[in-house]
Symmetry: C2
Subunit: 132 residues, 2 copies
DNA sequence: CTTGACCTTTACGTTAACGTCAAGCAAAGT
DNA sequence: ACTTTGCTTGACGTTAACGTAAAGGTCAAG
């Protein structure tokens, strides 16, 4: 509750995830909050890490990949160059997938639009029948 | 092998999926190819359905959702309007997620770019050291 | 006839990312 | 003192979408 610290449930509410998830990320080595007695205390840096984790997840990365990604932000690990190139690749692959998804959505959207129109037409002709 | 038919392995190669997946989709009721003896024969319509299945998957839809989606293309099912609206919703949600992903990728990309630059700088200063 | 290339069904195994109890400590309100 | 509220660990359960044998049918080539 002191300055710039968070409890686990505060974070869970802020990011709309369960406390179970946060503890799971810790189990997997992605977070390591301080302990006050047996309670976890999260600082701004932990919160930032959590943010990065969630962003990674939104990008479809597995937790293990997110973990490696977090290493890139860590100045203590030195063999960054290879990892970095690997991730740039990963991001580029994701960009390609996104491009495909956008195309898929465009197609599907237009198909849904025409189908929707068919439904509207059908409904209106039903109405004229019931009104007759 | 006759005109406009495909074997399971032909389709699996064409779409780079396993035969197991194709049979699984059939198990789930998404495909129902003809049988010639005990072998499956796929026609153009089946191939199209498979294409739609894969597109749905790329969009992150579960197979059950893809199944419902395929019903929309089926003229025999009549209560389309509600399903249709549901899917339009689903697509819109996906569009929002995509928007977020694009944002995430932009952020991550620029971070990777600066990190990459750091690496390049580090490498070049190493080189000047080894060359000295 | 046998080998090899495909095809088949059945069924148990796998993986990730949690969900869901269970059982209990600890502080704070009433 | 009691209850509520929030936190803890531990461990088993869950789900989707297949993977992976196992065990065998079929058909053309050698």
């Amino acid at each position: 509750m002191s300055a710039n610290t968070y409890t686990i449930s505060q974070l869970s509410k802020e990011f709309s995830i369960t406390t179970r998830s946060i503890r799971f990320y810790e189990d997997q080595g992605l977070l390591s909050p301080l302990r006050e007695g047996q309670k976890r205390i999260y600082f701004a840096q932990d919160r930032t890490r959590l943010k990065l984790i969630l962003r990674g997840k939104r990008l479809g990365l597995a937790l293990a990949e997110v973990s490696q990604l977090l290493d890139l932000y860590d100045p203590s690990s030195s063999n960054n160059d290879i990892q970095l190139l690997a991730f740039i690749d990963k991001i580029n692959i994701r960009k390609l997938a996104l491009k495909q998804q956008l195309q898929d959505i465009k197609e599907l959207q237009s198909e849904l639009d025409t189908a929707q129109q068919r439904c509207i037409d059908a409904l209106s002709s039903n109405q004229s029948l019931t009104q007759a």
